[in-house]
Subunit: 393 residues, 2 copies
């Protein structure tokens, strides 16, 4: 069992499914909070559990630089290091080193870059990315890809896509040879509670799973070709990368639609780095199973709250005496206890509690949105979610 | 019933007692976490409750400037504003405006000062301090005093003490005429749960209580005179101010001892702005009932953790691979879940979760220390606490 994926219900192209990881189940469609440096910024792990997060994401680039993947491996892996016994996914580090536009250089071998922390030189190759991710011990590991810049000429996008395919093969070769070296493999990683939640207590993987990544810029035929050739390499799941990099929402949707046509329906499909609440509902409706984004957490730290009434900027003076909760329709612990007036006071006073409470609310909003999507799929009708989501923009 | 204070057990001069406020009981000796601007920095109120905090402190100076006491009153008072239905104490604002040494001027009428936020001019008088504290709606209100600078010549200390006595009288006159104007007075403030915890469900106050403050610099005779003349004014509780301002530990203890001899034994005695864990144990053993200090919360944000093995600086490289908890003898949620290695990583990465977790641990350590003191008083033996506390230094 590389990565058991059980579709439980379908409504049009949308699917309600369950991924069984060695660290518990992930019900999909799923939104994955981003925990860059081994922490979802400002949120204690116990609160993430209470919010119902079943999987979170760690960033290979950040964890490699600090505290270092060797240290994390020595301490038993990222799950143990950060005390998170549910599922973890790590990105490949590719996207983040490409973001260091002044500090990196791409070659066939890999990407050389300088640390944003201390300027030291480093090299990420597909093999190195696998080695680091295996040391971190994620349940889902991402192939090392080149995230094509936007806009990109057709030939540039093709060359980048070809490189990503070669790197995918190298990633897979290294990964298959070393995947059993994850730090949690030597001991049963699954707690009784997680096994129970899984439904099939014996059918869980004993090694992580590697996802391939589709690139191809904003060219439908390149996206199709990337999807076909990545699928030929045969991964237990596929991600669509290189989106939400400045293109229009319509273009993002077009690229997703083109790729979903080709990806196998019996494996999880993951769109990386998206998005606004209404976007993630829309992509789930199209048949996307997994998504991640820094938006709910980063926006929270800037005082931007997602609510059923739209986005609100909590520092606005109009909330100074507002005794209502951040979102009157939200049942999260922040909305149950605190007023907009108090949240505004915390934010304008630069109190650390502002970041905590705003982030908890935004994550609750995202995770509840995905819960509603899953419920709507069970009921066989996503139309309410999709029309409702318009008001979220 | 101004402020019911029931002594339940005594061991030497130390007392185990219970203060009954309109917002629940406060078991003493009690350490009060400081919630400067309506938030104990970085800690959600639910966690403070879980830690067993029965009373926290708000700062009149900060709340007056932002969000403003009128706003807080309009929103139902500080309890409601910050969603804290246990007891609250507010300081008078005096200590903080005196700390603005460049920006304030003391006259008989009061203290004029400029805001550290925007430079605007303000005047705090005894009457104004009472008005603000009543608007905030604290359960325990502090008289407006002059905190004598250290060192101070004898004549300066005497003049300052005399001013504090005149201001205490003015504070009391204004307070008695207006105390029923607290925002929570119009509705029963006591929840069923709090009433139950009180033991005497009907005997709770319907107005806040005003504490007098003893000054007198580092002169035992002035301290004695201040205590005698403040007691003559008749308050339901007494605080010792102007300590821990740079004097030796021995001097602090001497001043406390001198004053405690004079203060009535049937009323709560509060030493303001102290201290280290071993200090608060010592003062409790001397008969002090209440203490507050920013130390556990402020130190936490600088990576300093209080433990049964002494103070540790979590950023130290020696903790990089330390898989033990912050304090092996601590049962708090942070020590139950996270390693020193992880806490160090969060701190050196400047992650906001560092401040949250470090603060929760330090407060747990302080509150557990006071719990142990109370238990030791019940058992009739504080010697273990006092000798044990030496290792805390």
């Amino acid at each position: 069992m590389t990565l058991p994926f059980t579709i439980e219900s379908q409504t049009g192209p949308a699917r309600l499914a369950r991924i069984s990881t060695a660290h518990g189940p992930v019900e999909t469609p799923s939104f994955m909070p981003v925990g860059t440096a081994g922490t979802v910024k400002a949120v204690p792990q116990g609160i993430l559990e209470d919010l119902g997060a079943q999987i979170i994401l760690g960033n290979t680039y950040h964890l490699y630089l600090r505290p270092g993947h060797e240290l994390v491996r020595n301490l038993g892996g990222l799950h143990k290091f950060m005390s998170w016994d549910r599922a973890l996914l790590t990105d490949s580090g590719g996207f983040q080193v490409f973001s260091l536009s002044e500090l990196r250089k791409v070659k066939e071998e890999g990407v050389s870059f300088r640390s944003h922390l201390d300027g030291t030189s480093h090299l990420f190759t597909p093999e190195r990315s696998m080695e680091i991710q295996i040391a971190l011990g994620a349940d889902i590991v991402m192939a090392f890809d080149e995230c094509t810049e936007h806009p990109a000429e057709r030939e540039r996008a093709r060359a980048s896509m070809e490189m990503t395919l070669r790197w995918a093969k190298r990633s897979k070769d290294y990964f298959e040879a070393h995947k059993h070296e994850v730090p949690w493999n030597s001991v049963p990683a699954l707690s009784a509670e997680n096994a129970e939640g899984m439904g099939h207590p014996t059918a869980y993987p004993t090694a992580p799973a590697l996802f391939g990544i589709i690139q191809g810029g904003m060219y439908p035929d390149l996206r199709r070709e990337s999807a076909e050739r990545t699928v030929e390499l045969d991964f237990p799941g596929y991600a669509i990368g290189g989106l939400s990099v400045g293109e229009s929402r319509a273009k993002t949707m077009e690229m997703i639609a083109v790729v979903l046509e080709i990806l196998p329906k019996d494996k999880p499909r993951y769109v990386m780095g998206v998005g606004y609440p209404e976007e993630i509902v829309q992509y789930a409706a199209m048949g996307v199973d997994m998504m991640d984004c820094v938006l709910p957490t980063r926006a929270a730290r800037h005082g931007l709250l997602f609510t059923s009434e739209g986005r609100i900027n909590i520092k606005n003076a109009r909330y100074a005496q507002d005794q209502g909760p951040a979102d009157p329709k939200c049942a999260c612990r922040v909305c149950a206890r605190y007023t907009r007036a108090y949240l505004r006071h915390l934010f304008v006073s630069a109190e650390p509690l502002a970041g905590v409470l705003n982030t908890v609310h935004n994550l609750a909003y995202y995770l509840d949105t995905m819960r509603s999507v899953r419920h709507a799929i069970t009921l066989g009708d996503l139309s309410g979610m999709l029309s409702g989501s318009v008001s979220l923009t």
